[in-house]
């Protein structure tokens, strides 16, 4: 069996490519830079130099593929322009869908994000039916929402697809922008002091990378031809997250809490200075806001319909720490 995979140099894509390849599936990986150190290496992974924004390169890579895994996305929230988000996430997705329809692909598995649902309403777990209550908070959410609409349009044209709304991913694998928990663990391992906003009661959902990879494979193998599933793990507050990491890493780090609004003001001023010095901002007030809203969710539907299983947070975190200790 052959599959096309986009985003092989991203976190989920990298791990998914290796998992599929080790199952004996031939993976056509569409990558922009085949020399990149993040390219997954396996005898069953065939590299195709190209870009989801380029039709011809997609058509070369998709030929003879049974399934398509579209994990590529532009996620850099620090980018203040919408162009890259729109071109990659919306137009790129449309190109993939278009080629999938043309080449009679059996099913497209589209990797999306839990954040298209927005924050949780009070402490109600986000489920697949939750209507979005507030407007899109940033260009990433907006363009991922738009690309899901495109996926739905192509369903009407006869292209089968499963959308996976993945929560915050952590676990072994290459460090990327989207892997915040791993960066946090590294900080606990290396630093003496960690300065954080004092909104540590806010809760998010964290999912182990191996569960996310399995969910993609289950979505491919399932008889269900069209669907949308939240792929998450446990709902955890920053307090619990920090304490668990601290205990497991035996870190002596001091966590210093600072008033949330003050942090935002400081970041704002810092970014003004960065504009003057013409360097890119490390974090923006908007990014902070998106990190500190409640995003509780449930994956009951995926568990029931896809037989999706989750790893407990403690077990997943231990494995992650072991991995990070090894690579550092």
């Amino acid at each position: 069996m052959k599959v096309l995979l986009t985003g092989a140099t991203g976190y989920i894509g990298h791990e998914l490519a290796l998992a599929l390849a080790s199952k004996g599936i031939i993976v056509h990986a569409l990558v922009r830079d085949i020399e990149s150190e993040r390219v997954p290496k396996h005898k069953n992974i065939v590299l195709f130099k190209g870009d989801i924004c380029n039709h011809e390169s997609i058509e070369k890579a998709i030929d003879n593929c049974d399934y398509v895994f579209h994990t590529a996305a532009y996620t850099n929230l620090k980018d203040s322009r919408i162009d890259s988000f729109y071109n990659t996430n919306v137009l790129g997705t449309e190109n993939i869908l278009n080629a999938s329809l043309k080449f009679d692909v059996k099913k497209v598995i589209y990797t999306s994000t839990l954040s298209v649902f927005g924050p949780s309403y009070k402490d109600v777990f986000i489920s697949e039916n939750q209507p979005r209550i507030v407007s899109y908070a940033n260009d990433y959410e907006l363009t991922k929402g738009m690309s899901e609409e495109r996926v739905n349009e192509y369903r009407k044209k006869g292209l089968s697809s499963i959308i996976l709304n993945v929560s915050k991913v952590y676990g072994p694998g290459p460090g990327t922008y989207s892997n915040g928990v791993n960066r946090l663990i590294s900080m606990f391992l290396k630093k003496d002091v960690l300065i954080v906003p004092n909104k540590l009661e806010s809760e998010s959902n964290y999912v182990f990378i191996k569960d996310v990879v399995n969910a993609h494979i289950l979505a491919m193998e399932s008889d269900i031809s069209n669907g949308k599933y939240i792929i998450g793990g446990e709902n955890i507050s920053y307090n619990r997250l920090f304490n668990t990491i601290k205990t497991l890493t035996k870190s002596k780090i001091r966590v210093v809490k600072i008033n949330y609004d003050l942090v935002k003001v400081c970041v704002f001023i810092l970014n003004l200075l960065k504009v003057v010095s013409r360097s890119n901002p490390v974090v923006t007030p908007k990014v902070i806001d998106s990190l500190f809203v409640n995003r509780l969710s449930t994956s009951e539907k995926a568990k029931k319909e896809l037989h999706y299983k989750t790893t407990s947070f403690g077990v997943g975190l231990k494995e992650t720490i072991q991995y990070l200790n090894k690579v550092s």
């Binding site: 919408i82 729109y86 919306v90 309403y121 009070k122 109600v124 039916n129 939750q130 209507p131 209550i133 507030v134 407007s135 899109y136 260009d139 907006l142 363009t143 929402g145 738009m146 609409e149």
Partner: protein, 264 residues
């Protein structure tokens, strides 16, 4: 008994936000929107999490029959309507030359015929529940000459005018009529994207539905006649009164050129 609000176009955008806003103020809902627009899910979500009674009807309001179906439903169920929110509207699509006659007729039906007729059909019910309120969602487009928004702007000018007159006429029945005239709103994802691509000043005029809905509902409760939400928008209204035409033409044309190819 808890009163009901009828809201048209309630499945998304400003209508959805107004539904949530009223539910949070402990008002029961009768929601109207097109089929397959997520209305059952929204109704279910509000019923479960905000604990108000929610009825919904999936109807195409470009068909006059739908309006009668709404009033029949409300009367059969003996629901006391205290608030009517005429929110459903068809947005503009392009240059007049390019619009199909069918599109124009359905735009007029949804934007003019439906709110007029629905107000008429529910009037006795509103009178019985008085003091009652009508909230008409108009647009800033009702004040400006805008290419690509000709029919839309004209339908909204009608709605603003209708609101003004009815506000006078229905005072003796203790029914207030409020027209809200927002500028750009981040409603559909495509509009969010287009708004995002606009120049700095125009972007400052764009409101999120959750903010506009709070302003609109507050205005309705205060029985205000006309509200333009957003400080920048109100400044623009003022500037519009004092600027000469040729400068305004230049500015609107410049912004319209920034619009990408409009999606059909």
């Amino acid at each position: 008994m808890k009163p009901y609000a009828v809201i048209t176009g309630a499945s998304s955008g400003l209508g959805k936000s107004i539904a949530l806003e009223l539910a949070h103020r402990n008002i029961n809902l009768v929601l109207i929107a097109l089929p397959y627009s997520g209305l059952p899910e929204l109704s279910d979500f509000i019923r479960t999490n905000i604990q108000v009674d929610v009825h919904y009807l999936e109807l195409d309001l470009s068909d006059t029959k739908s309006t009668y179906q709404i009033s029949d439903y409300v009367n059969n169920k003996k629901l006391h309507i205290k608030y009517l929110v005429n929110n459903a509207g068809v947005l503009s699509k392009g240059f007049f030359t390019d619009l199909s006659d069918r599109f124009i007729l359905s735009q007029i039906a949804v934007n003019i015929t439906t709110p007029t007729l629905l107000t008429k059909l529910l009037l006795d019910n509103l009178k019985a529940s008085a003091p009652a309120s009508i909230l008409n969602i108009s647009s800033m487009a009702s004040f400006f000459a805008l290419p690509k928004k000709q029919v839309y702007g004209a339908t909204k000018a009608y709605l603003t005018s209708l609101s003004h007159s009815l506000n006078k006429e229905l005072k003796r029945d203790n029914i207030s009529v409020t027209a809200i005239c927002p500028g750009g709103l981040n409603t559909t994802s495509w509009l969010c994207y287009q708004n995002r691509c606009m120049g700095w000043l125009i972007r400052k005029t764009i409101l999120n539905p959750e903010d506009a809905s709070r302003i609109a509902v507050n205005a309705m409760f205060k029985k205000e006649k006309l509200v333009v939400p957003g400080v920048v928008n109100r400044c623009l209204m003022f500037v519009d009164k004092i600027l000469p035409d040729f400068i305004k033409d230049y500015l609107t044309n410049r912004e319209l050129k920034k619009l990408n190819v409009s999606k059909t």
